[in-house]
């Protein structure tokens, strides 16, 4: 049996909203393997963002633990977590992913800079990724000169440029119309099928959810269903 990339063991999160405890996740156990294309579905407030943030080492659980490649994240320092995110995770947020003062290609280059990639390789790698995503034309545009869909595609470019083990995307299509969202999903599917990149994303949009090969349904902080569609 192979070790899952990401694994949640009795993962729990309780927020405190002005002293009132809010149980966003009741103990959850779930694992994600290499090459998966998983969507986390669920209504608003069901805990999708909470789960993704915990899995992406952006937040600490109040119970249980997250394991990356079998290694628990608990006990890692802020710096170590930061390095883990930089080298192993790709992130796509709902909106405002990009640094406004950088052009598309600079945005992609920047994370490579953080990784310590040499200047010459950086530019080449960034353009390579943009070509793959067919967004070369956007290379020298700044975020405010791009549409929401274009920005999200650049964000995908930024996420895959660093060769992460897994890409975590919290409602990447939520701010897009359905056609644009569809294009984005095509792109993600393509990267998953052609390059074996592991995706884990959330959505409450049925059209998006049906594109997942594995669908995890959350409700009130617990996993209601976990379906795999091998044929899709």
């Amino acid at each position: 049996m192979t070790i899952p990339i990401l694994q949640a063991e009795a993962l729990e999160k309780t927020y405190h909203d002005n002293g009132v405890p809010v149980r966003a996740l009741v103990p959850i156990d779930v694992a994600f393997d290499q090459g998966e294309f998983t969507v986390i579905a669920g209504p608003s407030g069901s805990g999708k963002t909470t789960l993704l943030n915990l899995l992406g080492a952006l937040d600490a659980p109040t119970g249980g633990r997250v394991l990356f490649n079998g290694r628990p994240l608990e006990g890692l320092s802020k710096t170590e977590l930061s390095k883990l995110r930089l080298h192993q995770f790709g992130f796509i947020f709902q909106a405002y992913n990009l640094i406004p003062v950088f052009t598309a290609v600079e945005n992609i280059e920047f994370v490579l800079t953080l990784q310590g990639v040499a200047e010459r390789d950086r530019r080449r790698r960034a353009l390579e990724v943009m070509k793959e995503l067919d967004i070369e034309a956007l290379a020298h545009k700044r975020p405010n000169q791009m549409s929401g869909g274009q920005q999200q595609r650049v964000a995908i470019g930024r996420a895959i440029a660093t060769n992460p083990a897994i890409i975590l995307a919290d409602e990447p299509t939520a701010n897009l119309d359905s056609a644009t969202g569809g294009v984005l999903l095509d792109l993600m599917t393509h990267m998953n099928q052609e390059h074996g990149i592991t995706f884990l994303f959330s959505s409450h949009d049925p059209q998006v959810i049906e594109r997942g090969r594995r669908v995890i349904r959350l409700h009130d902080g617990r996993i209601e269903r976990d379906d795999r569609r091998p044929g899709a």
């Binding site: 952006l58 930061s82 930089l86 947020f93 406004p100 990784q115 200047e119």
Partner: protein, 405 residues
Amino acid sequence: MMLLRLAWRNIWRNRRRSLIILTSVVVGLIAIVFIEAVVRGFMRQSLDNQLGTHTAHIQVHRMGYHDNPAIDRFIARPEVVDAALAADARIAASSRRVLATGLLSSARNSSGIMLVGIEPEREARVTIIQRSIVAGRNLGLEPREILISERMSRTLDVGLGDKVVAMSSTREGKVGSELFRVVGLFRTSIMEFDRVHAYIPHATAQSLIGAGAEAAEFAMVLHATTDLNAVRDSLRVVLGPEYEVQSYEDLIPTMAAMVELTERSMIIYYVILGLAMIFGIINTMMMSVYERIRELGVLKAVGMQDRMLFWMVLLEAAMLGTVGTSVGLVLGNALNAWIAVSGLNFSWFSEGLSSWGTGAIIYPVLDPLGSVRGGLLIVAMCVLAALQPALKAVRLHPMDAIRHL
């Protein structure tokens, strides 16, 4: 490199806010560079005039002359001193003087006087008296010529060519007197000096008071004032304990100390400006951090280390400071250079300045290097001011930041 680019572009995001803070840095620096130069010019001029009018750089007297400036405390063998001075190449020129207090009278009036017996050509190389002549000419070869101040000419109500009588006590305690013809009028910027000094030929002065070949003092100027103490000390060794060798710092200690203190304390102006700047910078950087909370969260999420984020904010403040300071320094020094050509005319400020002995026109003295040092201090203070906003950025929780809208 990318961090520099990021920081640089970030400061231009809110162009208006950056320009406001930059303008305040620039205006503040221009003002300080200018004020500093005027104050320096003022102090230097006042010292230079004092030195140039009479004190010079180093003086030699017979030991004890200052306690009792009597004829029997004159330097008995001036040629010994002359030889010692001639042997020191660091000395540019020297003058020997006879000094005698007395009374100067015209047909209409009289006034107390300090008669200075000089060899005109030597004195001209040491002091500015010859250059301060506003009417007539300097002393020539005639023994009965006198150079008085314009002010004295008014007191005595005499003009060029008029006769005056000088009286002074002689070595024997008698009263010596001599008739002089006014050949020139001088005006220095030191009112007090003009009130009492008059110049007569060296030999005439010696005979007037019965001083033989003796001299009261030697005054000399150096090629470089940096040699001041070295020359003084070596002259002390060469001349021995019979003589008193003093630098102008020994002769006019309060003034010399004040000039030095003023120049050293210039940095305080920059500190004060920096302190005023700090609040503006804190405010600017705080606002810019708050505006970017979400973006900073994304940066943290994708793996930007806190350390780097911290540097980014400091770098932004440093860039703001550097741009403002550079522009301010260039403009301030340019303004000074421009004003230094013709000087600042303070004559509207009435007689006030003349008692300071600076002259009515103050020439700002540039100290570009000093202003750069001050500018660096301001940049450093800008960076200091950004510490709190930078910490604020570091302490943001990536998740909260991303949620923030």
